[in-house]
């Protein structure tokens, strides 16, 4: 187990460096000059600009810049350079726009994104699993066909448009019609009442709509996987023995079959998280959710390169860890899988 973990972590290292190389060079081939961008003020003299250029180290060769970004710039032994500690030591530099550490901005928003994607994942599994099992039990009947249609439709609807339609109907039209409406974005009402209970309700009503929209993807994939898994499992001998012992169908399906059918869900966790990170970028933008996705999209528009680079690296680390987690989970849950 430990050896397997170690090996997987070692394997992740070249991937991680590949990502840093790829993103660093893509971002650096961007047109536009970060120094000019920071010194837009015409009163700043040319000499001052050169000075800044020197201190930021953007006039150095690109490979040297890459290494400095990665491990810090002490190795240059250049007193002119602003000290950097490098991303490997957790220094993602300062945002060009907000002039403060990128890591600080990210840590402020990480919670919101985790809350949204976490809720969406939980909803996805809680809704997807029963649908899938029931569809398999009622194979070929109406519910089965409906669940198949549902999963294909949920896959085909663009997430951002689903968000737009939900907002249009439940936030805008409901308010027009005088029905109880949902908020059209944000994490809480800015003028929220002080009482604790209403505060929680307020947060929930802001959280649930975007989380539900985001959960459509996992619901579709989880329910489909569950259906095929249950169909696979109920063909096995031990289910036949259970039936021969005269157990009730419901007990067989939900106690005996479900357990083994659940195992492959662990493998779905990695891809689900990846998909949610991508989906969150769009969903957060539509619902004005103050999370990492929106931070990244805004950084893109403002060409805030340190933030963009940090977004890539953190997103990629998240994906790598998610995949690792789902592989390890698979091995832990299913004793038939040997991890070495």
């Amino acid at each position: 187990m430990t050896r397997y973990l170690l090996r997987r972590l070692l394997q992740a290292i070249p991937t991680f460096f590949g990502i840093t190389l790829l993103t660093f060079f893509i971002v650096h081939s961007a047109p536009g000059d970060p120094v000019l961008q920071q010194t837009f003020d015409p009163n700043i003299s040319k000499a001052a600009r050169e000075e800044l250029r020197r201190r930021l180290g953007v006039d150095e060769p690109i490979l040297a810049q890459y290494v400095s970004w990665l491990i810090g710039n002490e190795w240059r032994r250049d007193p002119d350079l602003l000290p950097r500690r490098g991303i490997l030591r957790g220094d993602f530099g300062n945002s060009l726009n907000e002039k403060r550490p990128v890591l600080q901005m990210i840590s402020e928003r990480l919670g919101a994104t985790l809350l949204l994607t976490g809720t969406a994942t939980v909803i996805g599994y809680l809704v997807g699993v029963p649908i899938g099992v029931y569809a398999a039990v009622k194979r070929g009947r109406l519910f089965d066909s409906l669940s198949r249609v549902l999963s294909v439709v949920l896959n085909a609807v663009p997430g951002f448009w689903l968000s737009l339609v939900v907002i249009l109907l439940f936030a805008v039209k409901f308010r027009e019609w005088g029905l109880p409406a949902i908020p059209s974005g944000g994490m809480y009402t800015l003028t929220a009442g002080s009482s604790r209970g209403s505060d929680l309700m307020d947060r929930l009503i802001h959280l649930l709509p975007p989380a539900l929209v985001l959960a459509t993807g996992p619901i579709a994939s989880v329910s489909r996987l569950m259906r095929t898994q249950v169909l696979e499992v109920i063909r096995q001998d031990y289910i036949r023995s259970a039936r021969a012992r005269g157990l009730r169908e419901r007990t067989i399906h939900f106690r005996h079959a479900l357990r083994n059918a659940l195992i492959p869900l662990a493998t779905l966790l990695g891809p689900t998280l990846t998909g949610l990170v991508g989906g969150a970028v769009i969903t957060e933008t539509v619902w004005s959710w103050p999370g990492l996705g929106r931070l990244f999209v805004n950084a893109n528009f403002q060409r805030d390169y340190p933030v963009i680079l940090a977004g890539f690296v953190i997103g990629a680390v998240g994906v790598i860890l998610g995949n690792l987690l789902s592989d390890v989970l698979y091995g832990v849950i299913d004793p038939r899988v040997s991890l070495s």
Binding site: P14, T15, I26, W161, V165, I167, L168, V172, F301
Partner: protein
């Protein structure tokens, strides 16, 4: 059969008997319907897939071939603005209403569909070609080539796809053509993985070893003996890939980073939709509906193709 034997045994040779015998032999020697014939037969009986295909065909016809004639007939154009009627809902002249500067929405949907469908189709060609080529390389040569390619694929796959696309779109300000190429260049990895796996399987089969042993050149070995096994997989995924690209393009254009106006696509027609909820709900509904219908048809076709082309799936429903 019995007649054939009889005629052979008895040596009888009247003309009609001989003809019957020949017919019987032909029946015997006739090959069973091949893989593709069976698949085609299964597909022809799959009504859901056929109707999805029909809807898609109509959609493509409307957007690609008939957009011009229809808009001419209705006397509207996707670019004519009229600020006096901005946000107006459906009317006699403008069947689906007009947008914020008074452009006819139906005309823009049709012309936009041309761009969206085109991007989906051509990006899918790039994705499938590249994916197949790289996957074949990795699968056939294995070892170092495979390691390097898999490292590359794992790297690309670890970056959330939308982030990569966002930054590329931002940096290179794509038009429809360059966007197609970008999407194609960064989305081939999953196909290659699948192709690679398939080739690993086929490569180990005896007939390939036999072909190798009699000195078949590598090129012939790959193109004649190995690749045909991969084609069905690629066909199964083709519909799904087109749908996926259309979704991605629409999301990107919705964020304002895809194809730029005045060129309409279904995605960028929704770009300002968040501010139109009260002014023009029709502008929010229609483009998304077109995307959904198109992608839905493509996914259904993908499912149908899988059922038809994957022999293990036949009769599974």
């Amino acid at each position: 059969m019995a007649e054939l034997e009889q005629s052979v045994i008895a040596g009888v040779s009247s003309a009609s008997q001989r003809a019957r015998a020949r017919q019987a032999r032909i029946d015997l020697e006739r090959e069973s319907p091949g893989y593709w014939a069976t698949a085609f037969y299964a597909l022809r009986r799959d009504r859901l897939t056929l109707s999805a295909f029909a809807v898609l065909l109509v959609m493509a016809l409307l957007c690609v071939a008939l957009a011009g004639p229809i808009t001419n007939r209705l006397g509207v154009s996707p670019t004519d603005t009229d600020p006096f009627i901005s946000f107006e809902g459906p009317s006699r002249e403008h069947i689906l209403g007009v947008d914020e500067v008074g452009r006819d929405q139906l005309a823009r949907l049709l012309y936009g569909g041309r761009v969206s469908l085109g991007i989906g189709f051509f990006a899918a060609i790039i994705i499938l070609t590249l994916g197949m080529a790289v996957g074949t390389l990795a699968g056939y040569y294995g070892r170092l080539v495979d390691d390097v390619i898999m490292w590359f694929i794992n790297t690309i796959n670890s970056v959330p796809f939308i982030l990569l696309l966002l930054i590329v779109a931002l940096l290179f300000k794509p038009n429809a053509t360059t966007l197609t190429i970008f999407v194609g260049l960064i989305s081939w990895t999953n196909i290659s993985r699948i192709v690679r796996g398939q080739i690993f399987q086929v490569k180990g089969m005896e007939y390939v070893t036999a072909a190798h042993a009699i000195g078949t050149p590598t090129w012939v070995l790959i193109s004649r003996h190995i690749l045909p096994n991969v084609i069905p997989v690629v066909i199964i995924f083709s519909a799904q890939v087109i749908g996926g690209v259309i979704l991605i393009e629409s999301a990107l254009s919705f964020l304002g980073l895809g194809v730029q106006p005045p060129t309409a696509t279904w995605g960028n027609m929704l770009n300002k939709a968040t501010s139109y909820f009260t002014l023009g709900p029709h502008l929010v509904i229609w483009p998304g509906l077109f995307i959904t219908i198109t992608v839905l048809c493509l996914y259904v076709i993908g499912d149908g193709l899988r059922d038809a082309l994957d022999p293990t799936m036949r009769g599974a429903r």
